[in-house]
């Protein structure tokens, strides 16, 4: 068996998932420095990818997305996203940004910026104007004093509720959406 064949077989079994734990760890360690192995892995991922389309879909429990939002909020946004949120920060007093805690504010602003992107006309992500406006207004008009004391966990809760309100609005239940936003406004932290 030639060296080339060996690498290809190893890459194939790595992608297939049949390597035992020590072998898998070895490949994990090697692939970042071994270009031939990395290329063979990428090729096998491409070859076998259609199989992932075929397995039966399974609906995950609905609370998982909330859990993901909580983790994201707790971690803050990563560096690539910080650049996108900076322009909005300018007007809202730098001192406040310090008080709020970078991750909480960044996550808020990421949401606000996100909604601006969402509203961008012409794109396939475009949605009804009023729902977006409602959502965006909530983040823009939020009381900074109140949000200064909010924990990452609470912020995730607020984000979830705001998204739920947006969903209600999109589903045509604007009254429900408005009620939710009003509840959010009145919320004490």
């Amino acid at each position: 068996m030639t060296e080339e064949e060996d690498i290809d077989g190893l890459a194939a079994e790595y992608v297939l998932g049949s390597l035992d734990p020590p072998e898998r760890r070895q490949v994990d360690a090697r692939r970042s420095t071994d270009a031939a192995l990395a290329a063979a892995i990428a090729a096998w991922e491409r070859r076998l990818a259609p199989l992932s389309d075929r397995g039966p879909d399974v609906v995950p429990p609905s609370h998982l997305f909330d859990g993901i939002l909580s983790r994201i909020s707790a971690q803050g946004v990563h560096s690539g996203q910080t650049a996108a949120v900076l322009p909005l920060r300018r007007n809202s007093a730098r001192r406040r940004a310090l008080a709020v805690g970078v991750s909480a504010l960044a996550a808020c602003l990421a949401l606000a910026v996100g909604w601006v992107n969402y509203m961008h006309p012409g794109g396939p992500l475009q949605t009804k104007m009023d729902c977006s406006r409602l959502y965006k207004d909530f983040w823009e008009k939020r009381d900074p004093q109140k949000f200064a004391k909010i924990s990452a966990e609470q912020l995730a809760g607020v984000s979830r509720m705001a998204l739920r309100a947006y969903d209600a609005c999109e589903a045509g239940d604007e009254q429900d959406a408005k009620a939710l936003f009003e509840r959010l406004q009145r919320m004490k932290y």
Partner: protein, 181 residues
């Protein structure tokens, strides 16, 4: 809701900019697929719940690494999910595929439900898989869908581990030849 490949590419680009709404589109459109992949490999819902969340946190953090020229969004996402689930399966020896019996059935080649852009590729891949002897096709699919190691496969089909390894390598080489890429 069905989301086109183009929409998913845009939603991933939005996710890379920190757009939570775009991220939600990605999640809504792909989480049933990824959860199925993870659950089939781990066979335990509690583990699958945890890993699915980790996978999407990773997607949020690394969406900027997605290159639409190199792969389709679903391939990129499925690869992240498979790798994470396989790592977990190797770490966690407590898994039991019998916990979730409904997922143990291997998908068949003539399921008409696939309506993706990659349908043609899938058809070709299945045609090549059908060129393998039935027992060899089964072990390839057991490894891919359930992340079974050679040893687990050997136990399941009642063959020596060395035989399973030889069969896997030969079958994969045959697949590669058949696909011609």
């Amino acid at each position: 809701m069905p989301v086109s490949r183009e929409d998913l590419v845009k939603a991933l680009a939005g996710t890379a900019r920190g757009d939570v709404a775009a991220f939600k589109i990605v999640y809504s459109a792909t989480s049933v697929k990824l959860y199925g992949i993870i659950l089939r490999i781990l066979g335990r819902r509690d583990l699958a719940d945890e890993i699915l969340q980790e996978v999407y946190v990773r997607v949020w953090q690394h969406a900027g690494d997605f290159d639409p020229a190199a792969s389709s969004p679903i391939t990129w996402l499925a690869t992240i999910a498979r790798n994470r689930a396989l790592d977990e399966a190797r770490r966690n020896t407590m898994r039991s595929l019998d916990d979730v019996p409904e997922i143990l059935q291997l998908p068949s080649g003539d399921d008409p439900s696939a309506s993706h852009d990659d349908n043609e590729q899938l058809r070709r891949l299945y045609a090549c898989l059908d060129g393998l002897e039935p027992e060899k096709k089964e072990i390839v699919l057991l490894a891919y869908y359930h992340g079974m190691t050679r040893e687990e496969i050997a136990n399941r089909v009642g063959r020596p581990v060395a035989t399973v390894k030889t069969w896997l390598r030969r079958s994969l080489a045959q697949l590669k030849d058949c696909l011609g890429q």
